[in-house]
């Protein structure tokens, strides 16, 4: 069954892709600055480029999650969206707040806390916006004909994301406590509740694409999100090693964050097994590629590369170096960017009625962006490891070390160009579908 209000998702997806494109542009500014070509310094200094780059990431992923929810929840609850009008108002206001924040960063107006740079007055608007979104989703679920585990897990992820935003808004005089509670937001989002969102979207896609029984998929969904929290909650401790928190976090953070890859491994095995088990041959191979790709890449990026530097004795040397950037890029790409691109690839033929399932552009988009991202991760990794040995082991001055590792950023920029080509093709393909129509959704139902 399809529901005409699912077309709201299209505008969220469109906005998300627009912000992704802008995020990449600011990434290039930073890449060139790392190569010693900080030519835009007078207009866009590095701290502005970085705040824009990371905040756009958060914004487009949140828009992607919201769009996913607006597509998935009506179908799962077998009910039209409670208020499409509220969804449009919420989208426009979200974009207005986001764009205001990004402009503000160019004029030195921000909060200056990593990932949470958004100025405080705008924080309150974000909270109101997210509450409007949750109200819409919860009312749709509440009035729906059924409450599925997939919908429940997805909604729990969104609800907890909103709640966990709040500790990041408290002022502390102590940098230690400031940092401690900032990780309540950042870590418990990306290595906690966002994985519920990812798991919910993944389960929905697997049910649709593989045709495996919902009961089987949802059972394993519970196991995976269970593993996520079992390791991820106390795994927050790996951020507390060196910020002035007690030393017991070295043990707790070390043990539980070493277990964190298990959840991602389970997710990858789960997706591959469901695909093998599935008897249904869904024609949308592009969506299948992105779905399985997300499960596998998140295991490598978030699981393996995270585990590579999470133990305290290793992290003592890698903490605050480009090794973190290596892990961060592939983790966000695999776990969250790819799952959003997967649901877009799945939803577009259904909401527009154009069955452009597997053309050359979509294949090139997938492979170019992924190969580009792997290259970028390797470049960050080589630069990071070289930095660790030169600066942290041998005691070479920070700036001199940075001068030595500049060539790796040329490799980074070249790989980023391939990645950008892939994303550009994805966006071109998105526009080829045209706009959503009620006829398409009615016909599909």
């Amino acid at each position: 069954m399809k529901y005409t209000t699912q077309k709201v998702a299209y505008w969220f997806f469109l906005s998300a892709l627009g912000l992704l494109a802008l995020q990449i542009i600011y990434g290039f500014i930073m890449g060139f600055a790392h190569m010693g070509m900080d030519v835009l310094h007078d207009f866009i200094p590095f701290n502005t480029a970085r705040a824009v780059h990371t905040n756009l990431l958060v914004c487009w992923l949140l828009l992607g999650f919201m769009g996913s929810a607006y597509y998935i929840i009506p179908e799962e609850s077998q009910n039209e969206l409670y208020s499409p009008k509220l969804a449009y108002i919420q989208l426009i206001s979200f974009l207005a707040v986001g764009v205001t924040a990004i402009i503000a960063y160019h004029f030195n107006w921000w909060e200056g806390r990593k990932f949470l740079e958004i100025p405080r007055p705008l924080d309150y608007l974000v909270v109101v916006n997210v509450l409007a979104f949750l109200f819409n989703i919860l009312m749709t679920l509440f009035k729906g004909k059924r409450q599925t585990t997939t919908a429940l897990v997805l909604t729990m992820g969104l609800l907890f994301s909103a709640l966990l935003y709040l500790p990041g808004m408290i002022w502390f005089d102590s940098q230690t406590l400031d940092s401690f509670y900032r990780w309540y937001v950042v870590h418990l989002w990306v290595e906690g509740v966002w994985e519920l969102i990812m798991g919910g979207i993944l389960a929905f896609l697997l049910i649709k694409i593989t045709g495996v029984d919902r009961e089987v998929i949802e059972k394993w969904l519970y196991v995976i999100v269970g593993l996520t929290f079992l390791s991820g909650i106390l795994g927050t401790g790996h951020h507390f090693y060196y910020i002035g928190a007690p030393s017991y976090w070295l043990w707790i953070g070390g043990i539980f964050s070493a277990l964190e890859p298990l959840a991602f491994l389970a997710m990858a095995l789960f997706a591959l097994n469901m695909y093998r088990k599935g008897e249904k041959k869904h024609p949308n191979k592009t969506a299948l590629n992105w779905t399985l790709g997300a499960a596998i890449t998140s295991f490598v990026g978030a699981g393996l590369l995270g585990a590579a530097h999470t133990l305290p004795n290793v992290n003592l040397y890698t903490h605050g170096t480009l090794v973190t950037a290596m892990h961060g890029h592939m983790a966000f790409w695999g776990a969250y960017a790819m799952i959003v691109l997967a649901i877009i690839a799945y939803a577009m033929p259904n909401i527009t009625g154009r069955k452009l399932f597997n053309n050359g552009i979509s294949q090139y988009a997938f492979w170019l962006s992924n190969i580009g991202m792997i290259g970028m991760t390797v470049a960050f990794g080589v630069a990071g490891v070289a930095q660790v040995y030169l600066e942290r082991i041998l005691g070479v001055d920070f700036m001199e070390t940075q001068k030595e590792i500049e060539p790796h950023f040329l490799v980074l920029v070249l790989c980023a160009s391939g990645f950008t080509a892939g994303v550009t093709l994805y966006i071109i393909n998105f526009f080829k579908f045209g706009k959503p129509t009620d006829e398409a959704l009615v016909a599909a139902s």
Binding site: D38, G244, A245, M399
Partner: protein, 147 residues
């Protein structure tokens, strides 16, 4: 074979147990351990003013403190110990972008007043004395530059 309801119990019980543990340890960190480990009694109004300046100018967008931030400009946890207060003051009050002629990377010329520079230095001095469980590690070797 695991049933769906058993899987649900695993998820709910695990989440509740580990959330309670996490909140308990957070309480201990905040209430019982924080003040002693960080010399919280040394957080003067000047240090707090420095922290406000640190955030208002998004210094973390280039530098790191406690190893947290961006990886574009030097780690500042031990900057006073490493460079001394007069040097740091010079950087903070510089009317031209610092580093322009030496490293290729430029720091925004904030041109802080003397009072602001002193507040930031007070903040760095407090930061530098927090017990960080051994971070930043001392380099294992000493090498000499040959050219």
């Amino acid at each position: 074979m695991l049933t769906k309801s058993q899987a649900k119990i695993f998820f709910l019980a695990g989440t509740i147990i580990f959330s309670v543990l996490f909140l308990g340890l957070s309480y201990d960190t905040h209430v019982n351990k924080h003040d002693e480990q960080t010399n919280a009694d040394k957080i003067t109004p000047e240090v707090v003013a420095g922290k406000h300046l640190w955030e208002a100018n998004n210094c973390m967008g280039c530098h790191t403190i406690f190893g947290e931030g961006a990886y574009y400009a030097p780690e500042l946890t031990k900057v006073i110990e490493r460079r001394g207060a007069p040097y740091v003051k010079g950087v903070l009050m510089s009317p031209t972008p610092w580093g322009e002629y030496t490293s290729g990377r430029k720091m925004v010329a904030y041109g802080f007043s003397e009072k602001e520079a002193n507040e930031l230095i007070a903040y760095f001095e407090w930061i530098g004395k927090v017990d960080l469980n051994g971070f930043p590690a001392k380099p294992k070797y000493e090498i000499k530059k040959t050219k």
